[in-house]
């Protein structure tokens, strides 16, 4: 053998060995968790990121991606759009980052989706604001939009709670809640419900004496709250203080699903019914297992946001797996778009994207004796 051919064989051998070694080396699949860890939305961002982290750890432990593992990096958007946008730009420039789970709120996420589409990196925000999808195919929403959930809530109000004349209160400075209220009203009015009063409050407001007085004077048989837990609790208290009769039913939506609703609202929120993604403690074997494992690991009860975070990370992990042995950002995006029936712990247990709209069902919860229980159907 000439020295040239020997060198050629050596080269080929080394290359083959090199490739083989690389193939058996485990790859890190880097996913960035970009949530509001500080600032006004931290009450969502903190538990959500904990749920996501918990999911990543569990998936790695069960070798969900085979030899590969999910590596998470957690970043804080501080509930500020400028920081969220800056973070996305920064991570998009890092080729090892495959996907971004976040940001948290619509205000951060909608312009961030513009950045993500520019930078061609996939982004799945916590929000359900459908407007985000207009920015391009790289931005995803995670929660069910009101077009899906509000007709369900409206039907529950009219058929199960049997109310006929409602007053509504919504956050006027939060797109998500404005939409929820609007669609609820549209749907129920079409079915013959009377809406006797519609009030808007700001997220930072706490003085509801004027609204409470006006609503009590309008004599509704139900009050529907399109706000978050603490505000709803406060509204309930001030409504009762203004003389709202105990017979008036209180109804809400998934934003109320937090322990603060009860700790702040106390007796005033007894009997309040709302549609929820997460049933505290779990309502299926899978969700109950999650609740127990989460409590064991973190010492805290899983709340709505932790459960959603856990579910969203699961969905992304499935997309990474479906993207094949060499998941690029494009392949993950395409796989995510085709998500169908991924097992999750929220809603009715199966998560799908239908025309990029999330679908996973919801349950109805009620506050009874200071706890969340399944509401009468």
């Amino acid at each position: 053998m000439t020295s040239f051919r020997r060198n050629l064989y050596s080269l080929a051998l080394f290359s083959a060995l090199g490739l083989a070694t690389q193939a058996s080396l485990a790859a890190d699949r880097k996913i960035v968790i970009l949530q509001a860890l500080t600032g006004v939305a931290s009450f969502v961002g903190v538990p959500a990121s904990e749920g996501m982290r918990f999911a990543a750890d569990e998936l790695n432990a069960s070798k969900f991606l085979g030899n590969d593992r999910i590596v998470v990096e957690v970043a804080d958007s501080a509930s500020a759009r400028a920081q969220a946008m800056a973070a996305i730009t920064r991570y998009a420039a890092d080729p090892s980052v495959l996907f971004i789970l976040g940001p948290t709120t619509a205000v951060e996420a909608i312009p961030s989706a513009g950045v993500a589409n520019d930078a061609k990196i996939g982004m799945k925000a916590m929000t359900n604001a459908v407007g985000l999808l207009n920015a391009g195919p790289w931005g995803f929403i995670s929660a069910q939009p009101p077009s899906i959930t509000m007709p369900q809530l409206g039907d529950y109000a009219m058929d199960v709670a049997k109310v006929k004349a409602c007053a509504t209160i919504r956050f006027s400075d939060n797109e998500a809640y404005v939409d929820l209220e609007r669609i609820f009203v549209e749907h129920t009015q079409k079915r013959g419900m009377k809406i006797v009063d519609r009030s808007g409050i700001k997220q930072a407001d706490s003085d509801f004496s004027t609204i409470a007085t006006r609503i009590v004077a309008a004599k509704p048989d139900c009050v529907v709250l399109f706000t978050l837990g603490p505000s709803a609790a406060n509204l309930a208290i001030q409504l009762k203080q203004a003389g709202l009769p105990a017979s008036v039913k209180l109804i809400g939506q998934t934003g109320l699903s937090s322990p603060q609703l009860i700790s702040i609202g106390g007796a005033a929120v007894e009997g309040l019914v709302f549609n929820s993604d997460w049933t505290p403690g779990g309502n299926t074997p899978a969700s109950q297992a999650f609740a127990a494992a989460y409590k064991a690991k973190t010492g805290k009860d899983a709340d709505n946001w932790a459960a959603l975070g856990y579910s969203y990370m699961t969905v992304v992990a499935h997309a990474v797996k479906a993207a094949g042995p060499n998941p690029t950002r494009e392949r993950i995006r395409d796989a995510l778009t085709k998500t169908k029936d991924v097992p999750v712990v929220v809603g009715t247990g199966k998560y799908s994207y239908i025309d990029r709209i999330p679908n996973y069902g919801s349950s109805f919860l009620m506050v009874k004796d200071g706890k969340f229980v399944v509401a009468p159907q």
């Binding site: 860890l37 500080t38 804080d76 501080a78 759009r81 400028a82 920081q83 946008m85 800056a86 730009t89 920064r90 998009a92 420039a93 890092d94 205000v107 909608i110 312009p111 989706a113 513009g114 950045v115 520019d118 407007g131 207009n134 920015a135 006027s172 400075d173 939060n174 797109e175 404005v178």
Partner: protein, 292 residues
């Protein structure tokens, strides 16, 4: 080279636009008016440009021009009412103006999107455009500052009576300072809108007003570079202190307190002043202390 900057582009955006807003603020201070109306002018310019581009299909350059004009107009309109007040009262009146603008933007939902914000604005503006806008504005202000207008502003700020006796028509220069302030804020508001995909009314409210004010006072309100220095410090702070994220607000607050205690004229201005004093001392040109 651009790849080096790419991850940090949003920071540069913030510095360029923030400096624009701060310059708009600084110029009325220079002319002796305690007005904080800049964020209101910016809001008007931003929404004007955004609405014209998205809803009326106007060419972005024309929309930016319209936004600038609207800011200028608002400045002119606000100048006279504020001229009748002094000091803190001007500040409160201009604050009221900003809050009214924000509240009206929130209320006129059909036009502005209201609390939902105004979204899907095409990203037409590049970082280079922002950079040039900032540089050109600074150059313009430096030129004006060195000339008669600058001297008139300084005179009005230091002693209005003396200024009047020197033949400076305070009304005319006061209106000019507001027109400039409004135009600059309107310009940068429009650029902001066409760069950052969406607008909300809140982003022009109390917190940006405080942020712009802080940047000007922190950096220095007498020079044209002071605002740039102030904005840069405030933009880089969250990035440098990312590990201390929880305490970022406290660090920000501490910075404001310390700078005001030790460099009350602003970081840049104080440094410039002490350099100048040292130079004058070396030349023996500082006034002698009494008794020495």
């Amino acid at each position: 080279m651009m790849e080096l900057f790419a991850p940090h582009l949003p920071l540069l955006d913030l510095i360029f636009i923030g400096t624009g807003y701060a310059l708009s603020q600084a110029i009325v201070f220079r002319a002796g008016t305690f007005s904080v109306a800049s964020s209101g002018f910016a809001a008007l310019g931003a929404y004007c440009a955004a609405i014209l581009t998205v809803k009326q299909g106007l060419h972005p350059a024309a929309a930016v021009a319209m936004g600038t004009m609207l800011g200028l107009l608002a400045g002119l309109l606000l100048a006279m009412p504020l001229a009748r007040l002094r000091g803190v009262y001007q500040a409160i009146a201009s604050l009221a103006f900003v809050e009214v603008v924000v509240a009206l933007i929130l209320y006129l939902e059909n036009l502005t999107g209201g609390p939902l914000g105004f979204h899907n604005i095409p990203r037409v503006v590049t970082p280079w455009m922002l950079f040039f806008a900032m540089v050109i504005t600074m150059a313009l202000l430096i030129i004006l500052g060195r000339g008669g207008i600058g001297r008139a502003f300084d005179a009005m700020r230091q002693d209005p009576a003396v200024a009047a006796s020197l033949g400076v028509n305070p009304t005319r220069y006061h209106i000019l300072s507001f027109a400039l302030s409004g135009a600059i804020a309107g310009l940068f508001g429009s650029l902001d809108a066409l760069r950052n995909f969406s607008l909300t009314a809140e982003q022009f409210g109390f917190s940006i007003l405080i942020g712009t004010l802080s940047a000007v006072v922190l950096g220095g309100r007498r020079t044209v570079f002071g605002p740039l220095v102030g904005v840069t410090i405030l933009v880089l702070l969250p990035e440098i202190f990312r590990p201390l994220a929880q305490y970022r607000q406290a660090v920000y607050g501490l910075l404001l307190v310390l700078v005001m205690a030790f460099l009350p004229f602003g970081v840049f201005d104080s440094i410039m002043m002490s350099l100048r004093n040292r130079r004058l001392a070396r030349q023996g040109m500082l006034p002698q202390k009494a008794g020495s």
